[in-house]
């Protein structure tokens, strides 16, 4: 049979970002997919040579506009451990709360984009309508909708008052209740089950073999979650990784639906356990220049992110590297795309929740 090559991207309606895949088809079946990257590469590893470490945090936040808070947090946590700065307790808890709220934001965003990819535009609108409420919380507490810049090396820039935190929790819980109606559509609508059920199945063995991370791995039954290592106050939170066993596109949707509820619960626990009061210290300023190297792991909405920072005692870092979750999930995506129908390609690509600007940095 003759083979056809279909270029997918860089400009493609299903994704706002330039992902490039050369899909090699036999009839309607995809037999191979060759990814090309580099369209959003900005060279952060080289930028550390030109930008001082104190300013670099703001650049790192702009690796990606969706998980920008957690990128900033990862950078600051890395430098704090190099410079032996202890973060004040309230600042650490505030980081955790913002991180979980940004996970809710990211999942709502993704559920919308996913719904748009399988042609359910109404659902896309509903998810993004709810996401705007989360962005309002961000705007109120940090001043920015997308890029927050509240992380500093040694703490956070702003406090959230206790009464405001209580109001945020009420707002999140109401949103969680209201979201149940939308979540039910994802879970019960026959057209969604037909479109996503049994499509792009990643078995548990395959998920281990290709080293899937985050919701991708959890949808295949692997109970992996970097939050379980307990850093950044997560050891004080009770949490059970959300897992599903089917490993198909629908399971990956369900994992993210359930993680929204989980994150709301984590915010509740954090608000209960954090030290209360006005005027508590939020920042321990670091002294001098960093010297040393460190690996930091965080659980981003898309999975585990790994930062490697090496400093040499000068104002500029020697190395900065981020291995982002999408990069780790690309082998899984290629594995799933091989052998699927052409019509399923957008859904499979979207269910790994690709963030190309994270991947290429």
């Amino acid at each position: 049979m003759r083979r056809t090559t279909i270029p997918f991207g860089p400009q493609h309606p299903v994704l706002p970002e330039p992902l490039v895949l050369d899909l090699i088809l036999e009839d309607e079946k995809v037999i191979d997919a060759i990814p090309t990257i580099g369209y959003i590469h900005r060279g952060l590893e080289m930028m550390v040579e030109r930008v001082e470490y104190t300013e670099m945090g703001f650049v790192v936040e702009r690796i990606c506009g969706i998980c920008s808070f957690m990128h900033g947090m990862g950078y600051c946590v890395s430098l704090e451990s190099i410079m032996n700065v202890e973060v004040p307790e309230r600042a650490g808890w505030l980081r955790l709360i913002w991180a979980e709220i940004s996970r809710i934001q990211s999942h709502l965003l993704w559920l919308g984009l996913g719904a748009d990819a399988f042609g359910f535009e109404n659902l896309f609108m509903h998810c993004w309508r709810m996401r705007e409420q989360i962005l309002d919380i961000f705007e109120k507490t940090t001043g920015g909708r997308i890029i927050h810049s509240v992380n500093r090396i040694g703490g956070v820039k702003r406090d959230i008052s206790d009464s405001e935190l209580a109001a945020i929790l009420v707002q999140l819980q109401e949103l969680g209740e209201a979201f149940k109606t939308t979540a039910r559509v994802f879970g019960t609508d026959p057209s969604i089950a037909h479109r996503l059920g049994g499509v792009g199945v990643l078995s548990m063995e395959d998920a281990r073999a290709v080293d899937a991370v985050g919701p991708m791995a959890r949808a295949s039954g692997i109970a992996t979650d970097t939050r379980l290592i307990g850093a950044n106050f997560y050891d004080r939170i009770e949490l059970e990784p959300v897992t599903e066993t089917a490993g198909d596109c629908l399971a990956r949707v369900v994992v993210r639906l359930r993680e929204i509820d989980q994150s709301i619960d984590i915010v509740r626990q954090a608000i209960e356990k954090m030290p209360k009061g006005e005027g508590l210290p939020l920042e321990n300023k670091p002294r001098g220049n960093p010297n040393g190297e460190v690996f930091t792991r965080l659980e981003q909405p898309r999975g585990e992110v790994l930062y490697y920072v090496k400093a040499n005692g000068t104002k500029n870092l020697e190395r900065f590297r981020a291995r982002t979750p999408t990069f780790a999930n690309i082998p899984a995506m290629i594995k799933l795309v091989k052998g699927c129908d052409l019509a399923d390609v957008p859904n499979i690509i979207l269910t790994i929740d690709p963030c190309i600007s994270c991947t290429e940095r």
């Binding site: 860089p10 309606p13 590469h41 900005r42 990606c64 506009g65 705007e132 963030c355 600007s357």
Partner: protein, 141 residues
């Protein structure tokens, strides 16, 4: 062609941005802002588009794609540069492979500032783009 002059079709492309502005462009379509009520429609096809919304500071690899999309759009056409990176390179201006703004690659008509640009200012940019489109149409007519 005055009957469709107030209903521009938009093509959005991510020219090496961090995603922040792209998400805000998408947010313009969703219920809180809902630009479709003004007749603004997001299309995936450059040959249907009147206004090109480009975000990001454009790296070496993306030059060709941005130029290609611009060439494929029918005249008259307007380019709106969305966000600080698209206007000047923004925080990434010091990166080694960054062109430093869309206007280094294709002519830009409207600049929308902000990092990330807010949906309100993106909508404002599109509205100014409509005026620019009208002016260009009069010139060619």
């Amino acid at each position: 062609m005055s009957f469709f002059s107030r209903s521009p079709w938009i093509l959005h492309y991510d020219g090496s941005s961090c995603n922040g502005c792209d998400i805000e462009v998408l947010a313009c379509l969703t219920p809180l802002y809902d630009v479709e009520r003004f007749g603004v429609l997001n299309t995936g096809n450059p040959k249907h588009a009147d206004i090109l919304l480009v975000t990001g500071s454009v790296n070496e690899r993306n030059i060709e794609i941005v130029e290609n999309l611009y060439r494929q759009m029918p005249d008259p056409k307007v380019v709106v540069a969305v966000g600080a990176c698209a206007c000047s390179g923004g925080i990434f201006a010091r990166a080694y492979n960054i062109q430093g703004g869309i206007d280094k690659v294709i002519p830009v008509d409207v600049y929308v500032p902000g990092c990330a640009a807010r949906p309100e200012s993106i909508i404002d940019g599109v509205v100014q783009g409509i005026a620019a489109l009208e002016a260009k149409r009069k010139k060619t007519a």
